[in-house]
Symmetry: C2
Subunit: 495 residues, 2 copies
């Protein structure tokens, strides 16, 4: 066995030379599913046939994903065989032919997916049959339960455990660290785990990683929460609803996530994390993930129904999804915004502060003891008094220490080409520019934009600032901005 040094993303791939005696004798052809067994571990990989000379005739090479799963000693011998059809195959057929699936059937598919026994083709078929309206409410519940049961589950004992989730990201809308700090400062448990960015310039875990350690395992998570009541960690080292990541990787290229899958994804992670009360923030707007109130309503109803079935009390908070929030887009830049809010700085982005207080209030009001309207008041008090900031630092110390987020080496403005009034801000383009500047791979890179729709613009004034770690990335991001003037589009001023 050897490492191919090829990243094929999720799917395990086995490389054999065309003249390898085993592949000829076994009748392996490209795309055959091959069981690779080595030292008691098994991976089912898709076969690619090599004619180049980088692979010997008696060598079997594995893609990065497969190598990590199997983790053989270099030079170890592996046994290859045609893979048995996975159990998932018959479940998939049943669903295609109209059967309503139960929890055990969903679980069989998810276990096969986690054991890497399913090819991309099989996963795509599964995701497709579950998409659209194809999962009724009972199936949503069954899928959610199955997703919880194939991973770890944290139990926090009796008493409420608060949580929040935002459906679809708005760039810069980094309320979580502020909300967690406020809620924990008020004495409630809120062990928040978040993910790193998948396709965006920053995820909450990336932002927190600029200030403290986030890669906690479940034991470390417990210690922090026992000490401080709250936590802002990455879920990466915990196996909470682990199948979710696999399904997301397939849903994303297909742009096919239906309500059923979204709900199962969100709630399975919350239930596995041991939460009891979850606030779901749904930003609604034309360029947000949820575009209409009707769509938000449908998701909300499904979340409440399925949530109840898996033991979660769900609250829904509708917010405005039309413009970015805060100023920074990128891990360190968003961290700076968060710190300014927590420090009650006069320069803190007002909209981020307001939204964080709204959400924190709504989280608190999940608890029966907290009257409607009083949640926000308590949140304001905890923030203004500095209690939230003190709690934030305490949580970071418990996670391993606090450090100020860094700054990028190169900063350059993108200036307005003409006078005018700022029209629409294209959130997606702005995020793209932040990524080209290097976020999140370079945590200090990204974009800072202080303008909002309707603002007056003068020729030559900065529309936004690009932060980058190298002149090349800076130039690349600015070139893209020049090529896409609709990122911050101008209309003529009314003067």
């Amino acid at each position: 066995m050897r490492r191919a040094g090829i990243d094929t993303y999720r799917q395990p791939v086995l490389y054999l030379h065309r003249d390898c005696t085993v592949s000829r004798a076994e009748g392996f052809a490209a795309l055959t599913r091959v069981s690779v067994k080595c030292a008691g571990q098994e991976v089912v990989a898709v076969l690619n046939i090599v004619t180049g000379d980088w692979l010997g005739k008696d060598e079997a090479a594995l893609s990065d994903a497969a190598w990590q799963m199997l983790a053989p000693e270099p030079g170890a011998i592996a046994i290859l065989a045609h893979a048995e059809p996975p159990r998932a195959a018959s479940v998939l057929r049943a669903k295609v032919f109209g059967t309503r699936l139960n929890e055990a059937q969903f679980e069989a598919v998810l276990r096969d997916a986690l054991a890497a026994r399913l090819s991309d083709i099989e996963l795509a078929a599964f995701v497709t049959v579950c998409a659209g309206d194809r999962l009724d409410l009972d199936e949503s519940v069954a899928l959610t339960r199955a997703m919880i049961s194939v991973g770890d589950r944290i139990d926090w004992g009796s008493g409420p455990v608060l949580d929040k989730h935002c459906v679809g990201g708005l760039p810069g809308n980094r309320t979580t660290p502020i909300v967690v700090s406020i809620v924990a400062a008020l004495g409630h448990r809120i062990p928040k785990t978040s993910s790193r960015a998948i396709t965006s310039p920053a995820g909450t875990a990336d932002v927190m990683a600029t200030m403290t350690d986030v890669d906690l395992d479940i034991g470390a998570l417990r210690n922090v929460v026992d000490r401080e009541g709250g936590c802002m960690a990455s879920g990466g080292r915990m196996r909470l609803s682990p199948a979710d990541d696999i399904l997301i990787q397939i849903e994303r290229p297909l742009d096919l996530d239906g309500d059923g899958q979204m709900v199962a994804s969100i709630l399975s992670k919350k239930a596995a994390a041991g939460s009891t009360h979850v606030l779901i923030d749904i930003p609604v707007g034309a360029t947000a993930k949820v575009r209409t109130m009707a769509a938000a309503d449908a998701i909300a109803r499904r979340l409440v129904f399925v949530g109840e079935a898996v033991g979660l009390r769900i609250g829904v908070h509708i917010s405005d999804g039309r413009q970015p929030v805060g100023r920074g887009i990128g891990p360190a830049l968003e961290a700076h915004d968060v710190l300014e809010v927590l420090r009650n700085s006069p320069q803190a982005p007002r909209d981020l502060r307001e939204r964080a207080l709204d959400v924190a209030g709504a989280v608190l009001e999940l608890l029966p003891a907290i009257a409607p309207g009083s949640g926000r008041i308590q949140a304001e008090g905890a923030l203004a008094s500095g209690a939230a900031m003190r709690k934030f630092i305490a949580i970071c110390m418990a996670q391993g220490g606090f450090r100020e987020p860094g700054r990028a080496r190169f900063v350059e403005p993108f200036v307005a080409p003409a006078d005018g009034q700022l029209g629409c801000i294209n959130n997606r383009q702005l995020a793209r520019i932040a990524k080209l500047a290097g976020a999140p791979r370079n945590p200090t890179a990204g974009v800072v934009c202080t303008l909002r729709e309707g603002d007056s613009i003068r020729r030559g004034m900065p529309l936004f600032l690009v932060h980058a770690g190298s002149k090349g990335e800076l130039a690349y991001a600015l070139d893209y901005a020049r090529a896409h003037p609709d990122t911050l589009s101008l209309r003529e001023s009314r003067s």
Copy 2:
């Protein structure tokens, strides 16, 4: 650009080094869909990231499929960009969310598939939404028409053009060359194109390739048919319903071909080939593709309905799918059976002869002028008189020449381990043994079995003969046979 020398089967794959400046700047990650443009040609490939040193940082390598599609000069420069989402993406979403697709929408998907703009994941999603009962009859018609329109179409002018197709293969059931010869000898047009084996030990094109040239293009096909009325060629060089092959490659691993897709696959190829009257032979049996009369009936009704909509007159012939037919399994071995029948040899396999006459008779009776029952009588006459054999040779000569099929170097019997009576013959295992012996890659390899259910077996007598081109393959096939005694299972004799 360079060739990676990696066969990833259908899907085009682009290999870039992780430190390649373009992939970092563009934000390419593994599995990104990348547009590769070179000298006016474009391929959309899935990206795999390489960390090994076989690829330079300024090199882009392509998998075999992609290299053949793009066919760049070695060392040519390519322009890489994020691929635009294919039109198929929105059609797919529409179908998932319940829209009934029309011909134009199916065509958009098929054209994207043919232009290699769809990843395996997207194709799997498409195949899944069309599987099961998800295509109503109108959609079956729309899909079939779309499949015809994305490739070439042959027109034979006025007058009937006969054709046949067998749904699901029975090993050894090689009636086509006999049927074509009989029908052409009787003066009718029957320009039969067939495929090479995909997963079986032999396809009709492989069998014919042991005796003549089969890789004809449309011009050569016309010449042969103008001369002799019939033809037995491979469809490989013609673009008849070319999307069919792509869809099959995805349906097969999923085991998800529904009636809608099967019907579209069969009829689109027939219509594109210019046939007007098509006989569909459906072997029914527990280990055949179609397992019950009810299933056969459903397929038959859909075939007739869709066939009529695309200008085909369909006849259906139900046959017995429970046991293999003939003696040989493998290209040359089946060719020998075919020649024995055509030569009216007393040793010719009787069941193959009978079935070929049944099918030929049914093909003839597609024509209104031929009364029910008289088809088979005419067929017998043409066979017994030697007219069919003479026509067979004439067609072969027109295609490029006739040669006797070869014989394998090594032949060894697999003997019965005990006395008994032959119970069930497992067709799939027998086919597997033929493949391990080398078929169809080695055209003279395969298996010869003369026994049928109920035959008396004595310990030590040959159950079947394995033909192979090397001692290694012979041993491999025999080892497999020993490990799978249920291939030809014995029960105690009733004596």
